[in-house]
Symmetry: C2
Subunit: 305 residues, 2 copies
């Protein structure tokens, strides 16, 4: 089965995963925004720890109305742009299309399903350090594995094929048995490190080297653990230890929210903080320090936005 792919939001995430698929010979149609003219002229450059590569003839678009329906739509947008999906998606959808939201946070699939109740929807969790470092230019710094979990899907064969295509393209990929667990697991890292690098204007390495901030990072992870457990995603403390150790051994990194802050862009507070906080609260657990981080981030964002 030769799947036809579309990538909406060709940045650090969409550019890398879509780029790897295109490099391996898959048909990938890329939606660009500000980079459209540049990529049409110059192609797409990916600097990857697995080997740099350049895609010269990219199937590039700046409007989904110029695109045709695809088997798989990979959404790599910032969640702050998810309100655009209602108008961006329809030209790309046919009855069996699978939309994979490779995005941070909790609740993105629920919200998409409200607008597209019959759509096949999956969530993708990229365990990857990658940044967009220029027009049509992505840097892949560390890790890279993509975990995909079903939200609602009556065509599981396509999902398996996506994993196979990714693996063949050199991207480790697997299917999560429980998307809720997978999303909460990713929050173990995203909640402490995204917010703390912004509030303390620093990088991940500094946070795990200092005794006090490392203790706070761990406290935040444990709150996420309790929040997850209350929401039916059973994850043990060993996973928090693993995430902390992983970060200690990791390349110094500015998470996506830190880059958004440095560039005075809107922060993904809603899906990374507010939604998990509300979900945990509704299940009877108050993530107090996580809420404090959310409050600090909202103050910071309001100061420039």
């Amino acid at each position: 089965m030769n799947l036809k792919y579309a990538v909406i939001g060709t940045g650090a995430i969409g550019g890398f995963y879509g780029g790897m698929l295109a490099k391996s010979g898959k048909e990938v149609h890329f939606l660009f925004n500000t980079d459209y003219e540049y990529v049409k002229l110059n192609g797409l450059q990916v600097d990857s720890i697995t080997g740099n590569f350049h895609l010269r003839d990219v199937l590039a678009y700046n409007n989904t109305s110029d695109m045709s329906p695809c088997d798989v739509v990979i959404v790599g947008l910032k969640t702050t742009n998810n309100h655009l999906l209602k108008t961006l998606l329809p030209p790309l959808i046919k009855p069996d299309t699978l939309v994979i939201l490779i995005q941070n946070g909790l609740g993105v699939e629920e919200d998409l399903a409200k607008d597209f109740p019959n759509l096949n929807i999956a969530g993708g969790l990229g365990f990857i350090c990658s940044n967009k470092i220029g027009p049509g230019h992505v840097a892949h710094l560390d890790f890279g594995k993509l975990t995909i979990g079903t939200f609602q899907n009556n065509n599981p064969a396509v999902l398996q094929q996506v994993c196979d295509d990714l693996s063949q393209a050199g991207v480790p990929a697997d299917i999560a048995p429980d998307l809720n667990v997978a999303r909460w697991k990713k929050l173990f890292w995203n909640i402490p490190f995204n917010g703390m690098t912004v509030v303390l204007n620093t990088t991940t390495d500094k946070l795990v080297q200092n005794d006090d901030s490392r203790a706070l990072i761990y406290d935040l992870m444990l709150e996420v653990m309790h929040g997850a457990n209350h929401c039916g995603a059973v994850i043990s403390e060993g996973f928090a230890k693993k995430m902390l150790d992983m970060t200690i051994s990791m390349t110094p990194y500015a998470p996506s929210m830190k880059l958004d802050y440095d560039n005075r862009r809107e922060l993904e507070i809603g899906y990374i903080y507010s939604h998990p906080i509300q979900a945990a609260l509704a299940s009877g657990y108050d993530m107090r320090k996580v809420t404090m981080l959310e409050q600090q981030l909202k103050f910071i964002q309001q100061s420039y936005l």
Copy 2:
């Protein structure tokens, strides 16, 4: 009874209260550090909302060994310098000397009493916005009341006389029936506003104008309330509301910790955060958001100190 005063630490606090006493004709001996030469030559300037004044002939010293015993020693040092008191105080002490620590936080009197078990000790809480704005130059911006509470004192008449002297000098002053309650009440303001202005690099007015930071400030106050109540200082939620309303109506202000941070000086984390956190924890209450603020402050301080 004509009391002889000494002021140790002639900055925003010692300079204002000592200056007001000297202006009213009291004998006040001032210990200076870096400002000594300047004040010897130029005197002490206080710009006060109650009227500016200049003290030309100041009884100025740069070493307590050149000073003689006094009836009252007003300590206006930053608590980060309290380790110096063991050597600074002895030349100023006679059997009935009263030492008043006009300092922020919790536990300063306990720690002083460890070194001077028989000393008369009181704590002073200045509800004042004042800053040192130059050598021998203090700006008094708002409020000013001094509340003094006994820690250990076998000469209550002196304490009453100090209050009378201050009132006569134009400084509203009263005696707190319970120093523990008075110190915790002051922490209602100091804990949220000192730390939050540093972590979010802002001023009090911005924090109370933004909905999220104002909610967080109030959360922090409620944690301090629960901590206080567990430590035997019964204070109701109405006091938190009062402190918040007071700050909303207050002149925009950078608390002392924010000035210390801006000047890359050591922050008073120990007595304002760590000691109250430990005291509450020992009494069975975990001030979680206050602890997060302490952890963030320690990270920030370590980045420059």
